[in-house]
Amino acid sequence: MKVKSILYILGAFLFFLGLAMIFPLAWALYYGEGDLKALALSMLITMVCGGILYFSFKPDENITLSHKEGFLIVATGWFFAGFFGALPYVIHGVLPSFTDAFFESISGFTTTGATVITYIEGIPHGILFWRSLTQWLGGMGIIILSIAILPLLGVGGMQLYKAELPSPVKDKLTPRVTETARTLWIVYFIISTVEFILLLFGGMDVFNALCHTFTTMATGGFSTSDASIAHFHSTYIDAVITLFMMIAGINFTLHYSVLVGNFKSFYKNSELRFYLGITLIAIIIVTLNLRSHIFEDVGSCLRYASFQVVSILTTTGFTTDNFDQWPALSKTILLLLMFIGGSAGSTGGSIKCLRILLILKHSYMELYRLVHPHAVTAVKLGKKIVYPETMASIWGFFILYLAMTVAASIIMTALGLDMMTAFSSVAATIGNVGPGFGGVGAASTYSEIPILGKWVLSFCMLAGRLEIYTVMILLIPEFWKK
């Protein structure tokens, strides 16, 4: 383990994270609500810590990382992001308990959107902006952003890229990893800009439009008001945000191919079709279900159903209606969607459509083989065969994901939560969704969860965002053996 190189890279990363605090600082300066000092101090602490690590461990030669080190850097990098990202909340005093601040911060970076803040309108704009910005940075991946911007990694960059990219297939868009990282971020930036402009057209002010763009594109779900998107009472805004949540849940590699004019690979993509199919079916069921219970006219049913389905499926977690009050069928559908998530390589969390699709195909293949014992079969994705090894890793992920959900749910119920709250809080955090049901439902927050519970959920968020393996690998003794 090259401890020095690891600390050096983490130093560069922290310095860079501190630098990002300049944006909320500007808003704090603009609104003058007394959060300037807290943000400036946080920025200073983060940058100084980063700078010290960077300069004291500056290596003489080029760094090459093994993949063990890649996992370690990414996991600790994210932990650091959560830790230093919490500073503004603690220093300012909006969240005086460090547990709460860390929860809020990690919920931001992992694009979960679970909040412990009970009165969001009371938070100064600078800090509110930081809260949204953490989601945008975490959405495409803070480490990938560092690879794109900091030219200090060559081959090592690939190890970091693989450890952070939320996809079972770790292909590169271009021959160089820095180039790939840059391309992904440029695509992300372009789509964000479009959404920002569309939101401005809908009558949002610049601040709200920016914050909501950040949290939509990252499929994060932080809003600037307690009522979330319902606050705006606008069908147009609902529609725009629904559309961009949908877009953010699609593999960014596909967006890239559209931007360079390759439409064929876009509509021929089987994961995309699966993702759209699920969305459509879920919207139809929920709309019909709501029609007979909650809303009178079909238009409203469709509007609220589609918003909520997309919001939960893409693991964003915005709300336009208190879906906790919806009929059981709709709630069941939403709870199940939490376990599907967006496409691989999107900013969405959870298990991901690609894995679910392949697992279904694989299961079907097993049935098929029972009928034709001598058949030679293979799981295929488009025209490509999915190798048994990849398939095994997907099954492994699936089992680990469920096992973690079960284990965390048991802990949460042991802490005294009711069954629905415990289970849905874990499902909503490990899947990076945000709101759950019951005690953590759309109209409530996570502030009532016991301290230990908050740490368990923080861990779930981190593990969920880094696709379990990157975090779990650090917990097995084999990893640390020489």
């Binding site: 080029n62 993949h67 060559g154 081959v155 960059g157 690939m158 590169k172 021959p175 160089r176």
Partner: protein
């Protein structure tokens, strides 16, 4: 530069490694998923799984935007087809192919512009045989690299305790051997290259690279305590393609040859091609056979079977039985370090030779050739100095070169100058320099950026 490498074997891997580290965009195509995984893990390149001779795959690799195609799969046919497709899809791309088949190599007209249009064909066996022939010609050296069309040689060899230079500083060595001009270009100690200066002390077991004029090389090798008696009797173990090529070359030099091959039918092929040599049917690692054929009188034993481990064993055995020197064919770079420490005198590495040849070819600008030295940590570059270059018209000591770079020789018209601090490079001089691999991009900059401006 965008480069497509077809075939992720040892050669493809190494070429991709070198090119991507020098800042090129590299795409590797191979059929084998496992192999590609290994590549993706270790190199910053893009990998595509599929056949290199499939137009569809080459299209996904964006062949039309590529500047160079290097086809180095095991199959000649795939390599040829890949280059052919490349010349259809991308007009300007440079095409390099590995062609093993001897018969194809003989008739090189089919590769020219009007037919297959392959810019460089490499036969690894032929390349490595050429390297061995150089060693036979200059006994005592472990490797010999040609420069300036063969007039200057870079000789690499190990020092043993017999050498009187051991323990001396470089500036003193210069005094000791006044009659011949030479330059110690690089010293490899414990597998790391050291940049020599006048104050560097030579130690036992150092591996030296010495640049000198061809006619002086033997004398210099003698000075460093090497045995330079001409080679008369050679044993070859193994009777494949390489052995045949090698035997033909050796026969031309009038060297007495004994070839040992296990398989009857291969022996027959050899017998039909060769006239003077003794062809023995038997096992090259059999002590009795070697003794029976008087191995103790052999100047060289060259083991070139397909089995690398057997080659090493045969060489060791022969050495113990009294053969003066031994060379083994070894493809795996991992083994190369080992070889010198266990007492084998030279390595014949077809893959290494292929890599060297390709590098020669693709260096930009007026660089005539470049050769990787010793596991590719250092490189020797031969180029023509330009009037506009930063290095011309001033004393060498005033030139700012990247760390680890040494100007080894200057050739002006017919004179060969082994330079000192006051020497001056003039425009259109041929210059040979030795540098570390990491400094190559900087060197290329110094040599070629001005070139673009000039033209």
């Amino acid at each position: 530069m965008r480069v497509i490498v077809i075939g992720a074997g040892e050669v493809g891997f190494n070429i991709a490694d070198i090119l991507s580290k020098e800042g090129n965009d590299v795409i590797i195509i191979d059929k084998n998923e496992e192999r590609l995984k290994d590549v993706a893990e270790n190199l910053d390149v893009q990998t595509i799984q599929g056949s290199g001779s499939s137009p569809e795959i080459l299209k996904t690799a964006k062949l039309d935007q590529s500047d160079m195609v290097v086809a180095v799969t095991d199959s000649d046919e795939t390599n040829i087809v890949a280059c052919l497709l490349a010349s259809v899809q991308s007009k300007g791309a440079l095409k390099i192919a590995r062609i093993r088949n001897r018969d194809l190599n003989k008739d090189s007209t089919i590769f020219d512009k009007n037919h297959l249009s392959i810019d460089l064909c490499i036969n690894p066996e032929r390349e490595s045989v050429n390297n061995v022939m150089n060693l036979i010609e200059y006994p005592g050296a472990s490797e010999i690299i040609d420069f300036a069309g063969g007039r200057i040689k870079l000789a690499g060899f190990h020092l043993n305790s017999v050498c009187m230079a051991v323990g001396k500083k470089l500036q003193d060595i210069k005094e000791m051997c006044k009659e011949h001009d030479f330059l110690i270009a690089s010293i490899i100690r414990n597998n790391e290259p050291i940049v020599p200066s006048g104050k560097t002390t030579i130690e036992e077991n150092d591996y030296l690279f010495v640049l000198a004029e061809s006619e002086n090389v033997l004398d210099i090798l003698k000075f460093f305590g090497k045995d330079v008696a001409p080679v008369q009797r050679v044993f070859i173990v193994g009777g494949g393609k390489t052995a045949l090529l090698l035997s033909e070359e050796l026969e031309k030099k009038g060297i007495v040859l004994k070839i040992i091959e296990k398989k009857q039918n291969k022996c027959e092929i050899l017998a039909s091609h060769l006239n003077k040599s003794v062809i023995l049917h038997g096992d090259g690692t059999s002590q009795d056979l070697l003794k029976e054929e008087n191995i103790q009188d052999a100047d060289y034993l060259i083991a070139v079977t397909n089995d690398e481990e057997a080659n090493i064993l045969a060489a060791l055995l022969a050495k113990q039985l009294g053969a003066k020197k031994t060379i083994s064919l070894i493809n795996r770079v991992d083994y190369s370090h080992l070889v010198s420490s266990i007492g084998i005198d030279g390595v014949m590495n077809p893959r290494h030779a292929t890599i060297g040849k390709i590098l020669h070819f693709i260096r930009k600008g007026k660089v005539i050739s470049a050769t990787p030295l010793h596991d590719e940590k250092a490189e020797a570059v031969e180029f023509i100095a330009l009037e506009t270059s930063e290095i011309t018209n001033k004393p060498l000591k005033d030139i700012k070169l990247p760390r680890g770079t040494i100007i080894g020789a200057i050739i002006r018209e017919d004179n060969i100058i082994i330079p000192g601090g006051d020497s001056i490079i003039k425009p259109s001089d041929l210059v040979i320099l030795v540098t570390l691999r990491s400094a190559i991009p900087k060197i290329e900059k110094i040599l070629t950026v001005k070139l673009d401006y000039f033209e």
